[in-house]
Symmetry: C2
Subunit: 298 residues, 2 copies
């Protein structure tokens, strides 16, 4: 196990344990809704967003324990978006992380409600956490930025634009418009929220913001490349669905070699953005290398 693997593994275990605590299966009230929430929330996943949030907090010398609820809330929001995106009325995916998607197991109605519950509980957790934060203004700013990134101007708006673009000939401007909102906004919010909770000053927040913007776009390009290239056994999803749905992707707009080149450039820009940071930013550097390396080894 490399040092990065060990780091990621340790972080994942901490996040998974905290997430499980937020949705206990209360024996006197066995509840199918909570089962559905746990099925997706605790069903694996790379935990990139919460790990990023903790790494950004670490990079500015903050207390990781204080950032943990924010990391969990970001993962709950991501998890809700997966459940809703997989629905028949959206991307109609039957497989996710190598398992049947939520609506295949629990039915569409309960899947929609499980997503709704996750989104709501994320904000419940953020409010609770802010109440206990000695700097409520920082906590509230982090919460507001997460909500903005998840909403109509961010993730939900990106998904709506993605649905509208199905079957349209993809051009680069449209692909970037969609992905900056659909994936990039929440990744950037994870980085900024971690930095804010960690006590970042304006200069550090600016550097980490630039890092988060580059990483966000690199992440989606890498994901598109993996979808286009990898067999389902590797991605855990129904392979090549983006192509089947004529989805707006970077490989479709640029071709595969140029998409890989773009991902590598964004990795270098992300590394540049945090080049003035000390060794505590090493996990952030490792994370962008990991994200891009999965799709373009070099």
């Amino acid at each position: 196990m490399t040092a990065l693997d060990a780091y990621l593994h340790g972080r994942r275990e901490r996040i998974d344990a905290a997430l499980a605590d937020y949705f206990p299966l209360d024996p006197p009230h066995p509840h199918r809704l909570i089962e559905a929430v746990r099925y997706t929330l605790l069903g694996g996943g790379k935990r990139i967003r919460p790990i990023l949030l903790l790494a950004a907090c670490e990079a500015v010398g903050g207390d990781v324990a204080r950032a943990l609820p924010y990391a969990c809330a970001i993962e709950m929001i991501h998890s809700y978006s997966l459940i809703h995106d997989d629905l028949p009325a959206m991307d109609d995916d039957a497989l996710r992380r190598g398992r049947p998607t939520s609506h295949m197991v629990f039915g569409e109605g309960l899947a929609i409600l499980a997503g709704d519950a996750l989104l709501t509980e994320a904000f419940h957790l953020l409010a609770r956490s802010a109440e206990q934060n000695p700097e409520p203004q920082r906590a509230l700013r982090a919460m507001r930025e997460i909500a903005d990134a998840a909403g109509a101007h961010g993730m939900v708006g990106g998904q709506a634009a993605d649905i509208a673009a199905q079957g349209v000939e993809p051009d680069l401007a449209l692909v970037e418009f969609i992905h900056v909102r659909k994936t990039g906004a929440l990744l950037l919010a994870a980085v900024r929220a971690g930095a804010l909770i960690g006590g970042a000053d304006d200069a550090a927040l600016k550097s980490l913001t630039r890092y988060g913007e580059c990483l966000g776009l690199a992440f989606q390009i890498a994901d598109d490349i993996l979808d286009a290239e990898a067999p389902p056994s590797l991605t855990g999803k129904t392979g090549g669905r983006d192509g089947l749905l004529h989805k707006a992707t970077f490989p479709a707009a640029l071709g595969l070699p140029a998409a890989k080149q773009r991902a590598r450039e964004l990795r270098e820009q992300a590394l540049d953005a945090v080049s003035a940071c000390d060794a505590r930013a090493e996990p952030l550097r490792d994370l962008v290398r990991f994200v891009v390396g999965r799709a373009c080894e070099s």
Copy 2:
């Protein structure tokens, strides 16, 4: 126009204007998602929840202007729940407030996203508002209570239980379990949030909580009675659907006369709870009379 009519009309106008401002149709980016959000959010509605929130703030001598963002957030959450509840995978309703439901007009995918956007923007607004509140701890507590009432232990949990109960012979305990969560929790949260933002002390908060509990249940019983009795032209919904779906309702569990009797008792209990309050609580008193009177004139 009675004094109550004038009061409700004035409140509705103020709330409607504020809601429209939160979702502008930005001309350079015409956006079908925002159209879908506005279609339901601004498509009429009695605005009971936000009016209650403002009335609770007023009753404890608070500043109604400061409570307005909370009132709007509560209505956004209510509006999202209507869109999702009407979906084919849930109650499968084609008509709401005399108009086709969101998914009939915009398709299921966009309707799900419009609901997601409304829920997220509600918390964005609450976070922004708390940042500007000189008492962030009160603002955060109100936000946490709203999230709790809307989530797995409240509204979403109630809807899940309601779906699970379809076709089951309704008994009173089950009907109350569902309705306390599905409808009562958010109505109670509206009352408590208004009181908290208005600066209520512990004694006032306790009285208004009792009022909110009684009103919440009375509201749902009245709604069930209207659904069972009124023609669609009056309710604006597909009439008698609760019966068709074998839904757990109070008239089904108790019979109509006993359901009406229960609603009247709850009205009296709500009035008792705020009997020690001064004239500023008059709108709260009028509201519970209005809610029960619609279904059982007496």
